[in-house]
Amino acid sequence: MMEDEDLESFRAEVRAFLDAELPPEKRFAADGFANASKELTAWWQGVRAKRGWGAPGWPKQYGGCEWSLAKKRIFADESTKAGAPSYSPFGITMVAPVIYTFGTEEQKAEHLPHILDGSRFWCQGYSEPGAGSDLASLKTRAIRDGDDYIVNGQKTWTTQGHWADWIFCLVRTNTEVKQQSGISFLLIDMNTPGIEVRPIRTIDGMHHLNEVFFTDVRVPVSNRVGNENDGWTYAKFLLGNERAGIAGVTRTAGDLARLREWANSTEHFVDPPISDPKIAQRLDALDQRLSKLAALEARALEAPSQSLEAMRLVAPLKLLGTELSQDVSELALDIAGPAALPRPAENRVHPYGGEGEHAMSSFLFGRAQSIYGGTNEVQKNILAKMMAAGL
């Protein structure tokens, strides 16, 4: 009872914060990656950090909130409803936990404050042209030269690589051993000479992704996290840490609620699309899938971190969460109908409003969800192996 009251007052606090700090023109301006801008993302991170809410999951000693699961949910839930800009995950939820868990005091002092206040953007240097699902086969080479490594190679599918000030990279430091045992985890300043970023245009017509080329890039050995050749361990730790947001329950719940509202609209449509039983049934089916996913996520998040139970549930969360999100955006397309078809930002006498075009952008870029972070086929392979091992 006490806890419930506590949570309700927390919710009110969050709402008051959002009301006070988030002006209408900055709401729903960026939804996921689809049309986020660096400026908006950085600004909102700064505002949150000033309030002490920049990093819900970090320990307090590094400026985090150490919120309970319930509080994290409330914050995400209210932020989604208010149309708050989404944060860039590469710093806050990806590299930061690796740095504060395995990094040196110097690395913590150098990076954590800048990640927290939004002044430094990160990107992830994992995938390579020949190493996607088979990440351990990566070839980017780091060769020791005195106090530096000299890095040569290429990373690809680097989301926000054109925004990033720093990149965390998996590089090969030993070619003599088993693939997984020769990898190190480096933090690299994107301004170092020898780094070139080239854009990849994606099927939604946008620029989110990049190729990053390394030619004789000097990286101080002090920028290595943890031990040489233990990088795979940190990468796995990072993936295990991702389970909190991986299912996207809050975001998808927000998307579904808005979709239902939209399907009922007589402002956008002569006949509200929900009056079509096929649309209504699909909405109901998606709601049901969301309920199943939310329950699974709740159980997964309660399992102790790095426990077998937690590890066993990461892959299903990723699988189900990404497929649900993709299917929600596909229904949005069918609700929009022909209004989903125009290319964005074309000048027309009779604009359809952004909803339809946004639905198409989400649908198209959303195809990547079942590819990145280990394809959904690879997730199933991981699960199959765990099951075969009796886990």
Binding site: L209, V349, L364
Partner: protein, 371 residues
């Protein structure tokens, strides 16, 4: 069951050479930069593509009693494979179909002659904002004035209209669109409107599949009595038939896209190595590709079934099969597009390969005339 005959196979082969030359992967990025590629459009006319659906008597290719559906289906499969963006469907099947449905006249002969010879495409303005797919919801009005008509309203997503000199406009002559039945389809008329007539504003824009459309605003546009191509009663019936034919040819186009995606995915997974072996060696991916291929064969079978019924003179069965084919492409075709991207992994997300373009076209097909 129908299968392309020798002549149709020649058409397919030459069309395929044409698309492989002009719509090669490395050129796809420049496609649709303008509402019409006039050089390619002329070549299409010279190749006879734009005369396929018309009767010999009207200056087309088909001897009396033949619809040419088998020819059209053969061509549209290749247009799909090649991801061709020129308005062949809009001008020859939609506009051409409505014009051919009108009573014979000098005007009709001139219009068909214009289409067949590769003149400016003729646009078709059927949809309206806020009405989604429901073309029978029509607020645009045509009122009798003197000898002619006055048209007012806003049409959206008019296919072929971006580069057109003449636009076919669906407008309401009788009835009120407000009630639940939207005034019924019987009160509608099909009009010919010059794109440069006073009061007409054509705003062209590009769709995600790089096809061009236009919004067409009509403010008290005055046209003569000859502008009424099909009047109440006739218009709805002709339009229904034309749309079913368009559904079939969109289905044929979609099966062409599905075929291309199946072949490209097979090739990519055979070449791409992960975990030391070709991706195609994983059983789960093999089965996925088998499903894609089965979807393609089913869709093509329905398209061919529709042509078979048409050849036998069984229109009701033709329409049933055409609609089933369109639905197969709308549902399974989009699924094939999604799987092609998934199996290409990150590369499928890149505009460097045509996977995304193919999926976007399949989505546009699905939104064109859904059932």
């Amino acid at each position: 069951m129908f299968a392309p005959n020798d002549d149709q196979q020649l058409l397919v082969d030459s069309a395929r050479r044409f698309t492989q030359k002009h719509y090669a992967d490395d050129k796809l990025g420049q496609m649709g930069e303008n509402p019409l590629n006039t050089a390619l459009w002329s070549e299409m006319a010279e190749a006879g593509w734009l005369m396929l659906p018309f009767a010999e008597a009207d200056g087309g290719l088909q001897p009396e009693g033949q619809s040419g559906l088998g020819d059209c289906v053969s061509l549209f499969e290749v247009l799909g494979e090649g991801l061709v963006v020129e308005p062949v469907l809009a001008s020859t099947i939609l506009a051409g179909g409505l014009i051919a449905a009108a009573p014979a006249s000098q005007q009709r002969a001139d219009l068909i002659e214009g289409i067949v010879s590769g003149g400016a495409p003729i646009g078709v303005a059927l949809h309206e904002p806020r009405a989604r797919h429901d073309i029978w919801y029509c607020e645009t009005r045509a009122e009798k004035s003197g000898d002619g008509w006055t048209l007012s309203g806003v049409k959206s997503l008019a296919h072929g209209a971006a580069a057109a000199e003449t636009i076919i406009v669906l407008a309401r002559i009788e009835g009120d669109p407000a009630p639940a039945d939207h005034g019924g389809a019987d009160g509608l008329g099909v009009f010919l409107v010059p794109a440069d007539a006073q009061g007409v504003t054509v705003t062209p824009y590009r769709l995600r599949d790089d096809h061009w459309v236009a919004d067409v605003a009509l403010e008290g546009v005055r046209v003569g009595s000859e502008a009424l191509l099909l009047g109440p009663g006739d218009a709805a019936e002709a339009l229904e038939a034309v749309i079913d034919k368009a559904r079939l040819l969109l289905a044929a186009e979609g099966t062409g896209i599905m075929r291309r995606l199946c072949l490209a995915t097979q090739q990519y997974t055979a070449d791409r190595k992960q975990f030391g072996v070709a991706l195609a060696s994983f059983q789960v991916l093999q089965h996925r590709m088998v499903d894609m291929s089965i979807s393609f064969d089913q869709a093509r079978s329905l398209v061919y079934e529709a042509v078979t019924h048409d050849l036998a003179g069984n229109q009701a069965e033709m329409v049933r099969a055409a609609r089933a084919a369109y639905r197969a492409v709308s549902e399974d075709g989009v699924e094939v597009g999604k799987q092609a991207i998934q199996l290409h992994g990150g590369m499928g997300m890149s505009e460097e390969l045509p996977m995304g373009r193919a999926l976007r076209r399949l989505l546009a097909i699905r939104q064109a005339f859904p059932l």
